[in-house]
């Protein structure tokens, strides 16, 4: 804050009950009545994967899906979206398995520092949900509200293109990066005399 503007916060906004379904789980928290969704998600619900980049709706890092539509949580009042279904980056994967969009952001260089990645993935998942064979231009349009400072977007578009292929079920998930838990015994067979394939 710059300057000596007199800002009085007392009495602060009263807290009220906020409820919704976040990543498939019903959530009920107390939050100030004037809170934006981003703050509720980060500070109350604990979905820290939703990132705060600018507070102005300019960077897209805080994008979440609200009832299936990607929206900027920093520009959404929590009160407006009570009892909706909200999907954040934490809710993308299916159990321990990554979805195609997550796999491909990892394997195609779509994520460098990773801070904008959650927003990009929500935006592109929303695209794949309605269009499983998007052109590069359509992809660009879907992510135009998201800023990335590391990748120059090209590898993000590559990632989404590759994810679309997997999403349609046409490709195989081959990269080790696709599955965070590929093997229950990651260090392999202790006893090397065991026959090949024992660990599986």
């Amino acid at each position: 804050m710059v300057g000596k503007e007199h800002i009085t916060m007392t009495p602060p906004a009263a807290s009220e009950r906020w409820s919704g379904v976040v990543n498939g789980r019903p959530v009920e928290v107390l939050a100030p009545s004037n809170a934006v969704l981003l703050d509720v998600l980060r500070d109350k619900v604990g979905t820290l994967g939703v990132k705060r980049g600018c507070d102005l709706g300019t960077c897209g890092c805080c994008t979440v899906m609200i009832d299936g539509v990607p929206k900027l949580s920093c520009l959404t009042l929590a009160g407006q979206v009570k009892d909706t279904e909200i999907l954040t980056v934490e809710g993308l994967s299916e159990g321990a398995h990554l979805t195609p969009i997550q796999t491909c952001f990892a394997t195609h260089g779509g994520s460098q520092c990773g801070f904008c990645t959650p927003g990009f993935m929500i935006a592109s998942q929303a695209l794949l949900n309605v269009n499983d064979n998007p052109s590069r231009d359509e992809i660009a349009e879907a992510i135009e509200g998201n800023l990335c400072r590391c990748t120059g977007y090209q590898q993000i578009i590559d990632s989404i293109e590759a994810a679309a292929v997997l999403h349609r079920g046409e490709g195989e998930v081959t990269s080790p990066a696709s599955d965070p838990h590929p093997d229950p015994h990651p260090s392999g067979p202790e006893d090397p005399t065991m026959p090949p394939g024992h660990a599986k």
Binding site: D55, S111, F115, P186
Partner: protein, 933 residues
């Protein structure tokens, strides 16, 4: 020994001719052990150099690390090892660290550009319910700064504030709302001082200079640093065949990382400080915290969180980090401070706004006879990295071309604006743009192709620049050739219609700074890596390298995996905490891959040697004839004879437990002895050449870049996926600077666009198609031949675009960024001057080659052969800048050339002809003024 046998069937083991018993011989492909795949993968010969029997081409010849290659990880495109954390939202950045019982810290920032604090009354703040702690400058009187020579920052203002947004005080409160309210309750008495915004006024004497350096202060000016460097014979420039003179104004730009700064400080029950911060350079923060808090370094643990983009903007120790620690100490609870986007611009450290004047000349043979650079850079309120930036603006222009003479004057001045600092391509970007555009202009004057002009003037591999930099590998020629082919340059340059243009630009950047900032390189290494392998076979690597998204953790994991022939999944890099990581200087000056991976290779070799020794004992074969492949060690001439990785590991652990090894990297002694000789010294340099195509709407002034061919010599791409990502990302950032990004300071000196709406970072729609071209020159000292790929690729995009705009319109523009209003005004001015009514009647430039062109092509051909021989070390003769001008590289140039000068101070007779920034040399330091008095 029984347990080491490979299979039950041959339990007795085999006897060698000398009667020694060895482990059993296997008849089927042996299972590996460790890793998730039970089968040993065959050796991947495509990724083993041909020099050691594989199929990977090595046009540059043998490399010292060839023998350590196992074909496992190096050179293979792979996902970053931490990418799963990033795509699942589990990567923890600064603001994601939430400790039990935390309180929120907020910073009171100065509303004035320049003012003295006469008093601060915090009574009303402290009385506010919910406020836990208040701190002001009095709480932290010790100064700090990233460079030991210019410590001019305080945690909070002491005595004076130096720019709007400068830190005045801070509070901690139970929640954010209370903390914000508390900020409005400070009662401060100010005495307003006369601010300075125009860097040109920084050279004048002021009543109240922004900082006071005592006897070293330059008169009463605001000059923080002045530089003079001169090499060569300036008489060469007197009779030029072509001459270019360009005066540039470059706006300040910001890194624009998406993660705003955030910090969490916590004093643990033992009184040790735990500080969580997204830092590129945690070690310097560590040092600065110790100084400011008066706490020994061993009582501080700096935890680097994931870093949401750095680009140089998170490499200073920051005052808010000190504030959090001070508040946490006072309040007794963990304190979290998170910036909003506006605060990110107040702390700044972006690229310096610059006025650069470049005069260049070429002689009758198309040789570059002189560079004369004058750079005035606007440092804002603090020194930051500015001392170095002042040098880099000149010295990083001394290659890749052979120069007849080089003359540089630079000055960095303090102004009452947020401090400038290091940003991707530190100090080199703006001058590089000016120089490359100057070359384009000289090529135009001489009617030759600008690529051929460059090709005929390149320094060869293994040579020395005019200022004494040691160039090792050099892929400049290949980069130029490949972008020329890729872009179909010869059929496009000067042949495109009005509004369409193509341009070339080159780059040259350091790969690691040769001198560590805080110590003599003789005393400590630049980087240290520890490796520990316990009985489970997993390899834990401890390094202080700060992964800021560029993939340094992945690079370290890759090189360790490569040496030990283990899957990358088995390498676990621990780099977050200063408690567990050996000291590393951090991620700046493009040093991490070069220095850290080198240290990691050495440590991995230490582990490998222990494993091989164990295998020797078990198999009876000397390590020289043992092969390491995917989780197995076997006899070279009979792969069935071998032991698994775990067997060898357990054998090696018999007496000592977990295997431990360490490796360090230290740069070789280099460089000249003149003042500033260390600036720009690096163990290796990267080279790049870009061709850009643009569309210019001559009626509106809108420029859009459509295609870029980007060739970058990174020595060896350890991870081609990451290198391509760095190249494309650099293009993005450079395009922002050349076309749209600008920190706008209004007439009152106020920063007007401290947000991402008005500060225009290119979106996906502004990005051209980039064709990344990786050139591998195999650096003799790089890890597996690698050099940097993170900063150098940014440099060429600016001049390539500016030159392309000229090709499209015939108008030279030298005000960056080339926003539509700037371009429109330039076109309008040009139309008026040449009496043209309609911008559509503009005639783009054409080119008819002069006879000199053929001469240049011939020379380039000869040099190509010379370069190949030198690259492959078939020609090892000395080569110093000046051979092109006929000098003998074996004798000092000062003996051969009359008027040859190497100087770091101007001669009295030169004072009258200095450029604008050079006029700082007209001023005297206080100590000399006292002498006079």
């Amino acid at each position: 020994m029984g347990s080491y046998r490979q299979q039950p069937g041959s339990g007795k083991g085999d006897q060698r001719r000398d009667g020694k018993r060895v482990a059993g011989k296997q008849v089927f492909p042996p299972p590996g052990s460790g890793g998730s795949d039970p089968e040993m993968r065959p050796r991947d010969l495509d990724f083993i150099p041909e020099t050691v029997g594989g199929r990977e081409p090595k046009p540059a010849g043998d490399h010292i690390h060839d023998r350590d290659r196992t074909g496992t990880a190096v050179g293979k495109p792979m996902a970053l090892v931490d990418s799963n954390a990033k795509v699942t939202g589990q990567a923890w950045y600064g603001d994601d660290v939430r400790l039990q019982g935390e309180a929120i810290g907020k910073i009171l920032r100065s509303p004035h550009h320049y003012a003295r604090i006469k008093s601060i009354d915090t009574t009303r703040v402290e009385a506010l319910p919910g406020v836990l702690a208040v701190a002001t400058g009095e709480d932290a009187p010790n100064r700090f700064g990233v460079l030991p020579v210019t410590k001019d920052e305080h945690a909070m203002a002491v005595d004076k504030v130096r720019h709007v947004g400068d830190l005045v005080a801070c509070v901690a409160a139970v929640d954010e709302a209370t903390a914000i309210e508390a900020l409005s309750l400070f009662d401060i008495e100010w005495e307003l001082l006369e601010p300075v915004f125009d860097p040109k006024k920084g050279l004048e004497d002021h009543d109240e200079p922004i900082h006071w350096r005592g006897k070293y202060h330059l008169a009463r000016t605001n000059v923080q640093k002045r530089v003079f460097q001169e090499f060569g014979d300036r008489s060469l420039v007197k009779t030029p065949n072509a001459a270019s003179h360009g005066s540039w104004t470059m706006a300040g730009v910001h890194h624009g990382f998406t993660e705003p700064h955030a910090v969490v400080a916590h004093w643990d029950p033992n009184g040790r400080l735990q500080l969580y911060t997204p830092q590129q350079v945690p070690h310097y923060t560590h040092r600065a915290l110790s100084t400011v808090l008066d706490v020994p370094m061993h009582q501080i643990n700096v935890v680097r969180t994931f870093v949401g983009g750095g680009f140089g903007g998170k490499s200073d120790p920051f005052p808010h980090e000190m504030c959090a620690a001070i508040l946490a100490r006072k309040a007794g609870v963990p304190i979290r401070i998170t910036f909003d986007r506006e605060e990110v611009y107040w702390i700044n450290r972006g690229r310096h706004p610059s006025h650069i004047d470049v005069k260049m000349t070429a002689d009758n043979e198309g040789r570059i006879s002189g560079f004369d650079i004058d750079a005035l850079i606007d440092g804002g309120g603090f020194a930051s990295f500015g001392h170095v930036t002042s040098y880099y603006n000149g010295v990083l222009a001394t290659a890749p071309y052979e120069l007849g003479s080089f003359h540089y004057t630079g000055a960095r001045v303090w102004t009452n604006k947020p401090a400038s600092g290091a940003m991707r391509g530190h100090g080199a970007v703006n001058t590089r743009c000016a120089v490359e555009v100057g070359l384009d202009e000289m090529a135009e004057q001489m009617a030759v192709d600008p690529i051929d002009l460059r090709l005929a003037n390149l320094l060869p591999p293994h040579s020395r620049t005019i200022s004494g930099f040691r160039i090792t590998s050099n892929g400049m020629r290949e980069a130029l050739t490949r972008v020329r082919e890729g872009s179909d340059w010869d059929n496009k340059f000067r042949q495109l219609p009005l509004g369409k243009g193509i341009g070339i630009g080159c780059g040259f950047f350091i790969s690691g700074s040769g001198l560590p900032i805080h110590w003599d390189p003789k005393n400590f290494p630049h980087a240290t890596v520890h490796i520990q392998v316990d009985m489970d076979g997993g390899v834990t690597v401890h390094t202080g390298a700060a992964d800021i998204g560029q993939g340094s953790t992945t690079a370290v994991a890759q090189v360790v995996a490569e040496v030990l022939a283990l899957p990358v999944e088995m390498i676990h890099v621990r780099s977050h905490e200063s408690d567990t990581s050996p000291v590393d200087l951090g991620s700046y000056s493009s040093r991490v891959t070069f220095m850290n991976a080198n240290a990691a290779i050495r440590a991995a070799i230490g582990i490998r040697d222990q494993l091989l020794k164990a295998a020797w004992e078990m198999l009876g074969y000397h390590p020289n004839v043992l092969v390491l492949n995917d989780r197995r060690i076997y006899y070279k001439h009979d792969p069935a004879v071998g032991v698994s990785y775990l067997q060898a590991l357990h054998k090696a652990q018999e007496d000592t437990g977990a295997l431990i090894a360490r490796g360090a990297y230290r740069s070789p002694p280099m460089g000249g002895v003149h003042k500033g000789a260390a600036a720009g010294l690096a163990p290796a340099y990267s080279f790049s050449a870009y061709v850009a195509e643009v569309d210019v709407d001559v009626e509106t002034g809108k420029v859009s870049c459509t295609n870029v061919w980007a060739a970058h010599d990174c020595g060896k791409a350890l991870n081609p996926l990451a290198v391509r990502g760095q190249i494309i990302g650099s293009c993005h950032m450079g395009l922002g600077q050349v076309l749209s990004e600008k920190m706008v300071y209004g007439r009152t000196g106020h920063l007007q666009n401290a947000n991402l709406l008005d500060y225009k970072i290119p979106s996906v729609h502004e990005m051209p198609h980039v064709e990344p071209i990786i050139v591998e020159s195999s650096d003799p000292e790089g890890p597996f031949g690698a050099k940097e790929a993170g900063e150098g690729p940014l440099l060429p995009i600016l001049p390539a675009v500016v030159n392309a705009v000229y090709d499209a319109t015939g108008i030279r523009m030298r005000d960056l960024p080339l926003t539509p209003d700037v371009v429109y005004k330039a076109i309008e001015k040009h139309l008026k001057k040449h009496d043209i009514d309609d911008p559509l009647d503009l005639v783009p430039p054409t080119l008819t080659h002069a006879p000199l062109q053929e001469q240049l092509v011939e020379r380039a051909k000869e040099h190509e052969i010379r370069d190949r021989l030198r690259q492959r070390s078939e020609d090892t003769s000395a080569y110093v800048n000046g051979v092109l001008f006929g000098f003998d590289p074996n004798r000092p140039l000062s003996e051969q050339v009359e008027g040859w000068r190497e100087a770091d101070e101007p001669l009295p007779e030169q004072l009258a002809e200095l450029g604008f920034a050079g006029r700082a040399w007209l001023k005297k330091e206080q100590r000399h003024m006292e002498d006079d008095a």
